[in-house]
Symmetry: C2
Subunit: 416 residues, 2 copies
């Protein structure tokens, strides 16, 4: 965790779980496998916090020093636990392996600790509820691998903490909006959420969407839920159709759900996004009921081969044009027999558009189109949106897929 | 950074940069916007490290407390800098805005600090090279937004640190391997890299690939480079064709490069990966020269529409079968006129395969196929790989795309 390579995910998980129990996370510290550093950091942590959770360093190697550091910081001894040793011998025997002698270290338990079983690995955790000076301190040792840590926290730790902490019930809610600036969301919603000081509101911006997280803790669940729902409803009223999700669903999930409710199927012809839109849709389990597939028409020739875009149109307007986007959407819809077709074409960079009509068009210019088959009450119809996306290739492609999904969602809202 | 939502990326960037300067990162601490907590953490950090870098908390609001905390921890005063104030007034005037009074706080400078200009925002950084007790300490205050932090580190900070630190030159190298267990890589390479104690070797596993990072610091660059290259070469000899990248390139970049060297074009027909393979390839700038596109044949009908897979074959063998994978690869190649076609079909879950021949096939069963057009010296040819991938939908899809790229790479190795 002190290299430039590894993202820390355990602490995000633990923060969410501790918040849900009413615990505020005030400090996170990352320390290397050095007994002096670890013991120092453990001392500081135990001095300044009521609950200290360690993750990692419970393995069998000489670098696994969390037990020693925590014991030294707490000023308690360590004993080798016969029960854990037996369990470990059996675990190895079951795999027809001899237990390396080093592994016995994993049976070292701090005085006063309860042992936490590890369902997914060989390192047991430890839970110490003790008094240091005159202050009650809870110290928890969890294994580092995220899968082991999560399972152990859920099975062995959450209940113990809940039994210790004041009764508290939590309600959460997430609203999501696409393609809207954070400053606009904040300016419009701050006057509302500031009137709910008992609800913690977090605004997160990124990936062409804004998330509003609401969190409220009350001694009783109904009250917490009511406050969060009331605030969420007022914010939804203010932001209107911009809110695509009021329970945290992703934009692709919402679009698939809306298609399902309308018994409509979808196909896509993607140029600059190169499969990203299809990938996002098919990442959703069950998407095959409403998303048929489509074509990645990266080479101009394939725009004709797979979506019947007239060659002449590509030549005269350029592949990155309103007319080609519309033809892609319509062509892929007809070819696949879907109710809706989406077409995306744009200049993702870093190079400029192809020679010909596109040569002078700016990087980041994107057209997204939706084409709807005739249906009872609705004539055949198409919509095209032109947009300019700033940033690098990755950003342009992501925002383009977001524009296509949002165009589809807004269009479906009108087809109730 | 103390919510469950935000990934910390600044510290990874800073760790890489500091390592490159020969500085070992021993501690990272995350603290909330609380003056007491921040000052305490700053005191601890300055006591235990020679160089302390703060990021964030340099803005104009009352929550921006890094200046105050660092000054208190160092025991120095703060003055309001007239030059920065003028620069800030001008910056606001240029945007035809009045500067809010609060912003003047951004002109507060610690005694003895050099001011670091911010090319991308309004918060200047600070660089303090001082003596605390009898120890030289360097304390750096950088802004929190990653774009501002990086630009400021590069322009204002790296040079100052380099001038201070002992002369040291760094050589790095990354080898990458796909679809091979970490334990096997470690068992085969540890006897080699352990003979190079002056090269720091880090093995990273994840996303169906293993990365070996080598890092060596020497007073002279040629020596560092020679050590890293010698070790990399020996590891490459041991691992052979498993190494797809010897300079850190991604698997998709390598495959596109290999296609380019052979003047070959590629198309893909994806079922269970739903566009992921195409998306990965088109994420590489310049990919359009060798990747034509293809089809996302999620619905069975589209396997026939876009890749000419006989309906009868899908019915008799099931869409997830060796025969259909082969037909997809061959069909998409012929349809697009590409030199190579890739076909992917599998059961990504969480649900089972479709009724019919696939109903009894296990989740995670994937077939990838490559079909090659006849070329001078080579007859028309096809290869199919059957594999069982464990894990969830996301993992199965990613590994499937990795299998397809690796099959293509290995096949291209034989076509020199």
């Amino acid at each position: 965790m002190l290299t430039p390579f590894r993202q820390d995910t355990n602490s995000l998980y633990l923060t969410g779980e501790l918040n849900a129990l009413g615990v505020t996370v005030a400090f996170k510290t990352i320390v290397g496998d050095n007994l002096e550093h670890l013991t120092g950091a453990a001392r500081i942590a135990i001095a300044r916090a009521d609950i200290v959770v360690f993750s990692g360093g419970l393995g069998p190697t000489e670098d696994d020093l969390t037990r020693e550091a925590a014991a030294a910081a707490l000023g308690v001894g360590i004993r080798r636990d016969a029960e854990i040793l037996t369990w470990m011998y059996k675990r190895f025997a079951a795999r027809r392996m001899a237990m390396p002698e080093n592994n016995a270290r994993q049976a070292d338990v701090l005085a006063g600790a309860e042992v936490l079983m590890n369902a997914n690995g060989s390192a047991p955790g430890q839970y110490i509820d003790t008094v240091v000076g005159r202050h009650r301190k809870i110290v928890v040792l969890l294994p580092g691998p995220p899968k082991e840590l999560k399972a152990m926290f859920e099975a062995e730790c959450r209940g113990r903490l809940r039994a210790t902490l004041p009764d508290r019930h939590l309600a959460k809610r997430t609203l999501r909006m696409a393609l809207i600036p954070e400053s606009q969301v904040d300016a419009r919603t701050a006057p509302i959420y500031k009137r709910y000081p008992d609800v913690e509101t977090t605004i997160l911006a990124g990936s062409a969407e804004i998330q509003l997280h609401f969190l409220c803790a009350k001694p009783n669940e109904r009250e917490a839920r009511a406050r969060v729902d009331e605030l969420a409803e007022k914010v939804e009223q203010e932001m209107g159709e911009a809110v695509f999700s009021s329970q945290g669903e992703s934009l692709e999930e919402v679009v698939l759900l809306m298609l399902g409710l309308r018994h409509m199927t979808l196909a896509a012809a993607e140029s600059c996004t190169g499969g990203l839109l299809s990938e996002r849709l098919t990442a959703v389990p069950g998407s095959s009921r409403y998303f048929l597939g489509g074509a990645v028409v990266y080479a101009d020739r394939l725009k004709t081969t797979f979506a019947d875009v007239p060659e002449e149109l590509v030549r005269s307007e350029g592949p990155v044009s309103e007319a080609v986007a519309r033809a892609l959407a319509e062509g892929i819809r007809r070819r696949t027999g879907a109710a809706v077709g989406l077409g995306i074409t744009g200049i993702a960079g870093p190079g400029p558009g192809a020679p010909g009509p596109d040569a002078e068009k700016p990087i980041g210019l994107v057209y997204v189109a939706a084409s709807f088959a005739a249906a009872p009450g609705f004539a055949e119809a198409a919509k095209v949106v032109e947009t300019r996306i700033s940033g690098d290739r990755e950003r342009i492609r992501w925002w383009a897929s977001q524009h296509a999904l949002e165009l589809l969602r807004r269009s479906l809202l009108e087809r109730v």
